[in-house]
């Protein structure tokens, strides 16, 4: 059932590489293969830049047939396959292996079809996220998931990571916005999951492949759901004297029956960085900024705006700005979107953490993070999706100072364990990749980890698809020690444990 690795390459490394190349040239003579060190360098890492590795070789298929040929050749020789989209993932899911092939999907970037009446678009995996909304816009439709890298990240990567974005609370994650996914499994078979109808026969395999981080198959075609563009969007920015009062306002907005399109929060460290960087002119002493966006039909958005505004006022917002023009709206978003650039002015490097917690725990968790920061002697700033409890603490460090990177990673690990302790999760939208393997052992027990391996082996019996990512081996969990904290099984999970 559980094995550390099932890969059994049929030859020693240099001979294996030659044999694989020979096979690829026979089965797919037109395939673009990168073999030289210079050409492979750009593929050494994704956006989890603290780790890098040179792949045995990289291939850039242009068609599903070529993908199949590569997967079959790799399966025959027992060579691992790592799939890469745009390389924007920040948990290391697309970092290659020295003993493996890197499958780069950037050449498969055709928009196959847009069907405005059905509100669907069929795209190849290399199509950029934002491109889908661009081709849908003439029909007054858009593709809702909007990860912050949406300008460059690819749909194939979005499926692999089940990407989120700032509008998830209302519009859902990638998994809620897919109709069908076509993928090649480790046997080289084509799997058609989902359909253009509203459901499909059999088990929901599309749910499994979405967010599987390249472990279950190579996505070759995606049918996404398109959403009507809202008629009206209203954006507000409110300053609060404490994180707690801002968090209470968030709970009250949702309790009142409003589902904002976005609800983002920034703490004092971030506000001050933004102020230095962009001079937003916020009241001195603001401890939290809340950016809220409501949208929909004209009347619906208007009504929601009035409700949100009243709640913000009632909860002690010291200043509320409502954008009255598209320019002002962009201005309010600048604080949120430019936050990461502003943070870079604090220290040269920062490490972004990604956990989710029940929203009611926000103030307590943020307090604990501040305490932990003091313990580690590091600075931490918080920008996060307050509406859905997805927190992104940023830990600042200087990579030139020995030990700082490691310390920031340890600190990050402690924050994630804290998320699990309060009934949350170690990753809301960035994925596990290589980064959070250790914390997986905190969130899940051995039989669950074993079940994940069983799921993988149903699609990939010999473990050739992105092995070693997303799910730790039981052996590694044992080595890391019994740190398991059962989410929600702590006594009285309804009481904040601080």
């Amino acid at each position: 059932m559980q094995t550390t690795t099932r890969i059994a390459p049929d030859l020693p490394a240099p001979a294996l590489r030659q044999a694989l190349l020979a096979t690829l040239r026979t089965v797919s003579p037109q395939l673009h293969v990168v073999v030289d060190e210079e050409g492979l360098r750009p593929f050494e890492t994704d956006a989890f830049i603290s780790h890098r590795e040179t792949p045995m070789l990289a291939v850039l298929p242009e068609s599903e047939e070529q993908v199949r040929a590569v997967v079959r050749a790799c399966a025959r020789h027992g060579v691992p396959v790592v799939t890469r989209g745009a390389g924007t993932g920040i948990s290391g899911g697309a970092i290659p292996r020295q003993d493996g092939v890197l499958l780069v999907m950037s050449k498969m970037r055709r928009v196959v079809e847009v069907d405005p009446l059905l509100r669907a678009a069929v795209v190849e995996p290399g199509v950029r996220n934002l491109k889908v909304s661009e081709v849908a816009a003439p029909h007054s439709l858009f593709y809702a998931p909007d990860p912050s890298s949406q300008l460059i990240c690819s749909i194939g990567g979005n499926v692999a990571e089940n990407s989120g974005g700032v509008h998830c609370l209302k519009y859902g994650l990638t998994t809620h916005n897919l109709m069908a996914v076509r993928a090649i499994d480790a046997d080289g078979d084509i799997l058609e999951m989902g359909s253009r109808a509203l459901d499909a026969a059999g088990l929901d395999l599309m749910a499994l492949i979405t967010g599987s981080e390249g472990n279950l198959g190579v996505v070759t075609r995606v049918t996404v759901k398109l959403t009507p563009l809202p008629e009206r969007t209203e954006t507000l920015l409110a300053a609060f004297g404490s994180v707690r009062s801002a968090a209470e306002a968030v709970g009250e907005i949702i309790g009142a029956g409003v589902i904002p399109a976005a609800l983002e929060m920034m703490d004092r460290v971030v506000i001050e960085a933004c102020e230095r960087f962009m001079a937003m002119g916020f009241p001195v002493g603001a401890e939290a900024l809340l950016l809220a966006e409501v949208d929909g039909g004209f009347e619906e958005a208007g009504e929601a705006l009035a409700q949100v505004r009243a709640i913000l006022e009632r909860n002690g917002a010291s200043e509320i700005r409502v954008a009255v023009s598209e320019v002002e709206r962009a201005g309010l978003w600048r604080a949120r979107k430019g936050a990461f650039a502003a943070l870079a002015t604090i220290l040269p490097d920062f490490y972004t953490i990604d956990g989710t917690i029940p929203r009611r725990c926000l103030p307590d968790v943020l307090e604990r993070i501040v305490e932990l920061a003091a313990e580690y002697g590091m600075t931490v700033g918080n920008v996060f999706h307050a509406g859905d409890g997805n927190i992104h603490p940023c830990i600042f460090y200087d990579a030139m100072k020995p030990g700082e990177l490691e310390r920031s990673e340890e600190f990050g690990g402690r924050i994630l364990e804290l998320c699990v302790e309060v009934g949350g999760t170690i990753t809301g939208e960035h994925g596990v990749g290589l980064e959070k393997l250790k914390q997986m052992c905190v969130q899940f027990r051995d039989p669950e980890i074993a079940a994940f391996h069983d799921v993988k082996h149903a699609f990939d019996p010999r473990d050739i698809m992105n092995p070693g990512k997303a799910v730790p081996t039981l052996k590694r969990c044992a080595e890391w020690g019994g740190t398991h904290v059962r989410a929600g099984q702590v006594p009285r999970p309804d009481i904040p444990r601080f």
């Binding site: 059905l118 749910a207 029956g257 999760t425 990753t427 994925g431 079940a451 929600g488």
Partner: protein
């Protein structure tokens, strides 16, 4: 009983696995007609009931599988919230576990989402008698494969669902139903055109030349949409939508076979000798009467969908659309992984 239910269930399943004795998982029995005929020793889950955690401000509800759907809906209603997928009850006693296992959604499905879209986490007992938890109680969670969503619609073939966490939504304060005299083609066209605009649609159904459209949202939004769309207002329509959801309309004649044909919403009309009731903006076509299984399945497949013998009829043939060989291979492997002895609801879905 709640405290020992799961250990007891684990022991029961482990024992059945050792004996290779099939188990028929039972909730309220309201959907026993659905899927392959239940076989094996009955395992009652209905006794394991109760809401574990409900935090209206978190939009999250965790509930034991045996809890009655009506109990859950009443608790949500008290907070002006709802299960957004509008699950059918079909009979009194329907449970949350059965709702998730059958994966059936009601009229609201095209406009807010399906059961699987609102499942955040599940606790299951697999076919080895292991108590496993997947997903969680938070809205955004990508740790591990999404096994909890996989349980929605798996008909208990991979595990006995014991607890479920859902994302819930506010119940729209205002609701209105409009009726239009449209042909089938015109109704499908109109429903899809409206769905491409920011209108507060929450249900569409066409039958015998009449398209009914339900709008739900802020009062101002509903009345503005009514102004844009025209049509005639249908008074007291709530019970009609409930009867549609639960198959109590006269269309659903008890002693006739009922086919459920799921196709792309904009698919052409399917010519059949029997009358059809069309929901989901054209995506769901109910056919009441004997039809040739092979021919309805090939039509559904040609249109990009699938056909299910939903209720009655000759259930010795496949109830569900047969799978492509590559998908069937994965299904078998998953079944072997979760239930190696093949004891959980055998043949309720496919031939395993």
């Amino acid at each position: 009983m709640a405290d020992d239910f799961i250990p007891g269930l684990c022991a029961r399943v482990a024992d059945a696995a050792a004996r290779k004795a099939p188990l028929a998982i039972q909730g309220g029995g309201s959907k026993a007609f659905y899927g392959g005929t239940p076989e094996g020793e009955p395992v009652e889950v209905a006794g394991y009931s109760g809401i574990v955690v409900y935090e209206p401000k978190e939009l999250v509800l965790t509930v034991r599988a045996g809890t009655r759907l009506e109990t859950v809906e009443a608790a949500l209603d008290a907070e002006r919230q709802m299960l957004p997928f509008e699950p059918p009850h079909f009979a009194a006693g329907a449970t949350i576990g059965g709702t998730v296992a059958c994966g059936l959604s009601g009229p609201r499905r095209p406009y807010t989402g399906a059961v699987r879209d609102f499942v955040l986490g599940t606790r299951i007992v697999n076919g080895k008698g292991e108590d496993l938890s997947f997903g969680g109680r938070v809205i955004k969670n990508v740790a591990g494969y999404d096994v909890s969503r996989l349980m929605a619609g798996a008909l208990g073939t991979l595990g006995i669902v014991t607890e479920v966490s859902f994302k819930v939504l506010p119940r729209p304060p205002s609701e209105l139903t409009l009726a239009f005299e449209y042909s089938e083609a015109a109704a499908t066209q109109a429903a899809n055109r409206w769905a491409g605009q920011p209108l507060p649609l929450s249900g569409t159904a066409w039958e015998q030349g009449v398209l009914r459209v339900r709008l739900s949202g802020a009062a101002s939004a509903v009345s503005a949409a009514r102004g844009k769309m025209g049509g005639a207002e249908v008074p007291d329509a709530a019970s009609w939508w409930r009867d549609l959801r639960d198959h109590r309309l006269p269309f659903f004649v008890a002693d006739r076979p009922l086919w459920r044909v799921s196709v792309p919403q904009t698919a052409e009309a399917i010519a059949l000798p029997h009358s059809q009731l069309i929901e989901w903006g054209g995506g769901l076509r109910w056919v009441s009467g004997e039809v040739d299984a092979l021919s309805i399945r090939s039509t559904a497949e040609r249109l990009g969908g699938h056909a299910t013998l939903f209720r009655g009829g000759n259930r010795s043939v496949d109830v569900f659309q047969p799978l492509q060989p590559a998908l069937l291979k994965i299904h078998r492997r998953l079944k072997d992984a979760f239930d190696p002895a093949g004891i959980l609801n055998p043949r309720r879905m496919y031939d395993f």
